[in-house]
Subunit: 109 residues, 2 copies
DNA sequence: ATTATAAGACACCTTTCGGTGTCGTGTCAA
DNA sequence: TTGACACGACACCGAAAGGTGTCTTATAAT
């Protein structure tokens, strides 16, 4: 129900550094209009808007029109999928495993 | 030391579903040669090899030559970066926040 | 000695990505 | 009511992504 109807893979959505910066900005404020977000980047409004569309398709962002501006806000819950995915592998990076891998790495060179 | 010298962004490396499947396969075995990994996919050897190169560049995979085959194994520790990144946002998907966002979502449509 | 296997190294192709600029329209301000 | 602003919707572009096939070389197996 209302989850997993996403057209866009969440892993794909967070792959781009610009989009991760957008997520960060939106996490630090309730709601931010497009022109204000755009001001934080060097690229143009169209590019930022495209990134926000991708985040929307992944369910990571919601938007609403207020007057002539479009305001965006974060919806972090789809990130849970990443966390679930990670949980499976966390057993591989216990401090002991890390040390072991480093040793094997050096051994091979 | 030996960390963060990666040519490739870890977020980028795990964005592709084929690469995530490779990671999963490598998590379930000690070491797997390329031809055996290739057998698990529909695409050709060259494509699989390219994906493994990308995983290597992100530090997620190690390889060594044994006879005529190249064997790969997982090095999960770079995934820690993803976990650290996620940790910051986990406060946004507490069950209360999730319910609130769902309500706001419905309200807007 | 010969043949089959494993894989690196390329060249190549099509599609997607990440950006640009422009045009048209609704909204707010003077 | 005129002008500035915010934005969506395109069309467009170069570069990167994700595949393919082929050639060559090293290693194993017969």
């Amino acid at each position: 129900m209302s989850v997993n109807n996403h057209l866009r893979d969440v892993f794909d959505a967070i792959a781009d550094p610009t989009r991760r910066r957008l997520i960060r900005l939106l996490a630090e404020a309730e709601e931010i209009p497009l022109h204000e977000l755009t001001a934080q980047f060097q690229m143009g409004r169209t590019a930022v808007s495209k990134h926000l569309t991708i985040l929307k398709e992944a369910g990571l962002v919601l938007d609403r029109k207020v007057g002539r501006e479009t305001r965006f806000r974060l919806n972090a819950s789809p990130l849970r999928e990443i966390q679930d995915w990670l949980a499976f592998y966390s057993k591989f990076w216990s401090t002991n495993m890390l040390r072991l891998n480093q040793l094997l790495e050096e051994e091979e060179e």
